[in-house]
């Protein structure tokens, strides 16, 4: 079963090093030309850079908001507590095409241009459930007595959060941030509705896929960026599992 999951990916990986322009057997010569061409393509690199910017923005906001949700929900009883959990999870059950359309219309109504900011705003919404789930799981396992002890010793609540809770949460925060970054970096269905002149990498890729002769270069660059996201995923996984 795992082999079945890897076979198509392995095939693409091989294809990106082959002189073939269509994926046929047997694969012919070995080449790095596609990679060389990819790294020399400024539009492509620009799109990759845009994706990184959007990913950093979306991940930072989503993680900060998710941290707020997870502390509020795990440490306080207040009116609207269940509402907050539900609201933070709700983006998971709205199809992306619906969210993409709604944000497209929102930006039109507000007379704001479609832009990287619009994409990042959309990605914040879909990344928030992931950030909240990851952070809430860790906050739930953290003994509230730790905070009580700090406050008994005279720390104010904000100082307790900053000096006691945050340091313990750092690995989980990084794990949540990386997860959000990857969710944003790979997202195309919402981004297609919100991209203005500057495309993110998946939007650029999607737009170029119809040109068959561009395919090997695109695949080569997508493979390169995938190596990046896989690495980040493994780091997130490692940090997420670390037990104190």
């Amino acid at each position: 079963m795992l082999l079945f999951l890897y076979f198509p990916i392995a095939l693409l990986f091989l294809f990106s090093f082959s002189t073939n322009t269509v994926l046929t057997f047997p694969l012919r010569g070995f080449t790095l030309d596609w990679y060389r061409e990819g790294f020399g393509d400024s539009a492509l690199l620009e799109a990759a850079r845009n994706s990184v910017v959007v990913g950093i923005g979306a991940a930072s906001v989503a993680t900060a908001l998710g941290l707020g949700v997870s502390i509020a929900v795990s440490r306080f009883r207040f009116r609207g507590r269940l509402g907050l959990i539900a609201l933070a999870g709700l983006p998971l059950i709205v199809p992306f095409v619906v969210l993409g359309v709604s944000l497209f219309l929102l930006f039109n109504l507000a007379d704001l241009p479609r832009s990287l900011f619009a994409i990042a705003a959309g990605h914040t919404v879909i990344a928030l459930p992931f950030a909240t789930l990851i952070l809430l799981a860790r906050m739930g396992g953290l003994d509230p007595a730790l905070e009580d002890a700090a406050m008994d010793l005279g720390a104010t609540y904000p100082i307790t959060l900053r000096r006691v809770v945050l340091p313990v949460m750092v690995p989980t925060i990084i794990s949540a941030w990386l997860t959000c970054f990857i969710v944003s970096f790979d997202e195309v269905a919402i981004a297609l509705f919100l991209a203005g002149g500057d495309p993110t990498f998946p939007v650029f890729l999607y737009g170029q896929l119809r040109f068959a002769q561009r395919l090997p270069v695109l695949i080569a660059m997508a493979v390169t960026l995938t190596v990046l996201t896989v690495t980040l995923t493994l780091i997130a996984f490692r940090l997420g599992r670390r037990k104190e």
Binding site: M1, L2, F4, L5, Y6, P8, I9, L11, L12, V22, L23, T24, F25, V61, L65, G66, G68, V69, F76, F78, G80, L84, I85, L87, L90, I93, V94, P95, V97, V98, L99, V101, S102, L103, L105, L106, N108, L109, D111, A121, G122, T124, V125, L128, T156, Y157, L161, D186, L192, F193, P202, L205, I219, A222, L225, T226, T229, V230, L234, R241
Partner: protein, 286 residues
């Protein structure tokens, strides 16, 4: 000095505000826009009028409803197949992999981290007329002419999306299997239940919440898909999401597109409401 209650405002208010602006308001906005009369791009300076003309137009177009039915059917097949195929992987991880579980979990996460478009492209290249499967079969002498049916069909969309979602579907199933008390299985064994009985009578029922969660985590994004169908589906494999997208690009009738999106939203929310009755939400939230 800022007390605990004061801090709560700083913690809970920003997420509320952010989600209100970029999530709730936009969703209410498409509902409002779906009742506007325009059949082209909308000038928002025009007065807001109320009409159900968009919905009437959609209901009078059997092609839209047929696509909706087809998309729901495809998503059902995809979500079911992905969950069923993910189950043995999750089972292996939870019960058989033992100390190597982490290694296999990582092996499962890697395909999931591979770019979604890349995984879809892999299938386009494999299923295509000059693709890997056809050329491999040709090379092996099994066929003499390429099989055209492989790509640009609903089947291609279904196969591709099942593949895309298997790793994701395995995660909630794995989480549910891990929570099963080993004592329950031992107790069943002591009472004389064989391996099959134990699996069907103990393991499967206890893992059902995870499987239902997996099903819906695949079903919801799939029912609104438009990217994969546009890459491997051709005109036959066109889904309801593609129709929505069309109304914002070529055809550009935003109010009609909004009404189509509202129909999809209501349908998904209704299905989730059913699912929440099946699995205990409060336990997942705690």
């Amino acid at each position: 000095m800022l007390g605990r209650r004061g801090a709560l405002r700083f913690l809970a208010l920003p997420p509320y505000v952010w989600l209100a602006v970029f999530f709730l308001v936009p969703l209410l906005l498409i509902v409002a826009i779906s009742f506007r009369p325009e059949t082209g791009p909308i000038d928002f300076d025009d007065p807001w009028t109320f009409t159900i003309a968009q919905y009437e137009r959609i209901l009078e177009t059997p092609a839209y409803l047929r696509r909706l039915g087809m998309s729901v059917a495809m998503a059902l097949v995809i979500a079911t197949a992905a969950t069923v195929l993910a189950y043995p992987i999750a089972y292996f991880l939870a019960f058989r992999a033992r100390e190597r579980a982490v290694v296999f979990l990582i092996l499962l996460l890697i395909p999931f981290a591979v770019s979604y478009l890349l995984r879809v492209m892999a299938w386009r290249l494999m299923l295509g007329g000059e693709g890997a499967i056809n050329s491999l079969l040709d090379w092996l002498g099994v066929i003499s002419a390429p099989i055209d049916l492989l790509i640009y069909s609903p089947v291609a969309v279904v196969v591709t999306l099942i593949y895309v979602w298997i790793p994701f579907a395995a995660l909630p199933v794995y989480a549910a299997l891990q929570r099963i008390e080993r004592g329950h299985l031992e107790a069943a064994a002591d009472l004389g239940a064989g391996p099959w009985t134990r699996f069907w009578q103990v393991t499967v029922p206890l893992s059902l919440p995870g499987a239902v969660a997996a099903f819906f985590m695949v079903f919801i994004p799939t029912v609104g898909e438009y990217v994969t169908p546009s890459l491997v589906g051709g005109t036959e494999g066109y889904m309801y999401g593609n129709i929505i997208q069309d109304f914002f690009s070529q055809a550009a009738s935003w109010a009609t597109g909004a009404a189509l999106a509202v129909i999809m939203l209501v349908l998904t929310l209704a299905l989730v409401a059913v699912a929440l009755r099946l699995i205990d939400v409060r336990r997942l939230a705690s």
